[in-house]
Amino acid sequence: MDRQVIGAEAAEAAAEGGGAGVPPRPGAPAPWTARLPPRVPGGRAGAAVALGVLGAMALSALLAPVLAGHDPVATDTSATALPPGSPGHPLGTDQLGRDLLARMLYGARYSLAVGVAASAATVLLGTAVGALAAVAPRWLDTAVARTADALLALPMILVALTLAAVAGPSPATVVAAITVTGWMPVALIARAEVKALRGRPFVRAARSLGLTRTRIFLRHLVPNALPPIAAVAAFEVGHAVLTESTLSFLGVGIPPNTPSWGNMLTDARALLLTGQWYTVALPSAAIVLLIVAVNAVATGLERRGAGEGRTW
């Protein structure tokens, strides 16, 4: 439906502008509608497909021991650098003879778990800080908002890198680094939303009924501020997975040898120009697919909210 509308608009624009050179014939399908780029996934169908992709990824990560058939860290000197499609190694092996399918599946466990944990921590911390700032005394509120602004202006990868380097590589460090560098957008949205809600009649009514400030905050302000936060939360998953891969690639994330998509990229870095493109392509493709899927779901969430008359 949307496609048709866009097509109609394009046809109108072309007819009005006259620059297209082809006068539209009434009744005939406008030929240039087909040249419009297909809509990016993000509509309802896009979100459903993306959810399916995410579900499949999560399931294969969960079932890694069943599906893999190999130990992801076991080396096999008789089968090194096999291309995809080799017997017994559907995705091939790396320089040390480790099965790439097993490493991809086990890597999904780390990447997904770290992504989910880090984004959950980010959203929880951001929501708590932002919502509390909104009801705090003005000086404290201003201090929180300016701190968030200042941190947003820093190159985040530098901050995350420093944190991870100081604390040493471990999944917990990665989660902490992502949380510390990612809470600001969530906090600013939560703060703005709670501030706007404070003036709403139902909050005034709750006060007039003698409810305590704590109760009004927890029952009336925060739950009503959640829909826009939920949309950002989905984007935060993508951000977290990407940061995890980056930190692991730089050697300060998930400890080396542990399969994670970022570590696989680190190992494969030297093989970029030696013809073993798949060692780089597989984890990269998985990361891209995951982030596109998460963002499509986030966009879907956002649109559903917009359909309910919200504008954020």
Binding site: P201, F202, A206, R207, L209, G210, R215, R219
Partner: protein, 281 residues
């Protein structure tokens, strides 16, 4: 001052450096409904909200507002600390807002609203549902059990107003303030809601209760209030029994309001309202 549920004297409210309420005196007798009438922007709602400490941030209040708590105890609402005032809100003073639908939290059910309000004032968990259902019934709602489970968006405008009314009345407050509650309702629903409010003040157990009806509608004031107080320029310019005020208004603004409201009266002159003395600056 016996028989007065609330006695306000010399109430002054300044908002942003502007004096909006300027030396207002008002007595709300027990068992009576008093209408606070005035034009839009005359400070009616601000007066009512100031009494509960719900005026906008930065509003400065002075004067005295003595609420009778029974047994010879009174409390000055303008001097009470915030915590004391919070405990009085809902329990001793009920406030019903104009925008009923918007004054309900969209994420929780009607029952959760009621249980929460009752709980905030110490009603034990086990008795909240029963008291909540009784409050819904008391506000003139049929099938309270179904409404108890309903979310605000499932209610009609009239139902929402009655739910808001049930919330404000749930703890049987001594003073009920209704702020333009019927402006958005059809005449039949309006009459139903006002009858409930009126019955509170006049009912058999209502001897110690008072109703303050904030309205710009003289027809509503005349039919449902015992007394009318006309607010203009931040002070009461005329006060008396409803019948007397409507039949023989003494203040020019009251006269203009009566003429504007009266279905048989002549239409007001275009310049009349602008020239009324004491117009809000």
């Amino acid at each position: 001052m016996s028989g007065a549920v609330l006695a306000v004297s010399g109430l002054r409210v300044r908002v942003g450096g502007r004096t909006v309420v300027d030396g207002l005196d008002l007595v709300l007798p027990a068992g009576r409904a008093t209408a606070l009438v005035g034009r839009s922007g005359s400070g009616k709602s601000l007066t009512a909200r100031s009494l509960l400490g719900l005026a906008p941030r930065g509003a400065e209040r002075s004067g005295e507002a003595l609420l009778d708590l029974g047994g010879g105890r009174t409390v000055d609402l303008l001097a009470a600390p915030p915590d004391r005032l919070r405990a009085l809100r809902g329990r001793e003073i009920g406030y019903v807002f104009q925008e009923a639908q918007a004054s309900l939290n969209p994420t929780i059910t009607v029952g959760a609203h009621l249980a929460e309000t009752l709980g905030a004032h110490g009603v034990p968990r086990g008795r909240r549902r029963e008291r909540g259902l009784a409050a819904l019934r008391g506000a003139g709602l049929d099938d309270p059990a179904a409404l108890y489970r309903a979310y605000p968006f499932e209610l009609s405008g009239g139902q929402a107003q009655r739910v808001a009314l049930a919330l404000a009345r749930a703890l049987r407050p001594r003073l009920l303030i209704a702020d333009e509650v019927t402006s958005a309702l059809d005449p039949v629903t309006q009459a139903g809601v006002l009858d409930v409010l009126r019955a509170d003040a006049a009912g058999p157990d209502g001897s110690g209760r008072a109703l303050l009806l904030v309205t710009h509608d003289l027809a509503v004031a005349g039919r449902w209030a015992d007394r009318i107080a006309v607010l203009d320029g931040g002070r009461i310019v005329e006060e008396g029994p409803a019948r007397a005020v409507l039949a023989a208004p003494r203040h020019p603004l009251t006269a203009a309001l009566v003429r504007a409201a009266g279905p048989l009266g002549p239409p007001p002159d275009p310049g009349e309202f602008a020239e009324a003395p004491g117009a809000v600056r």
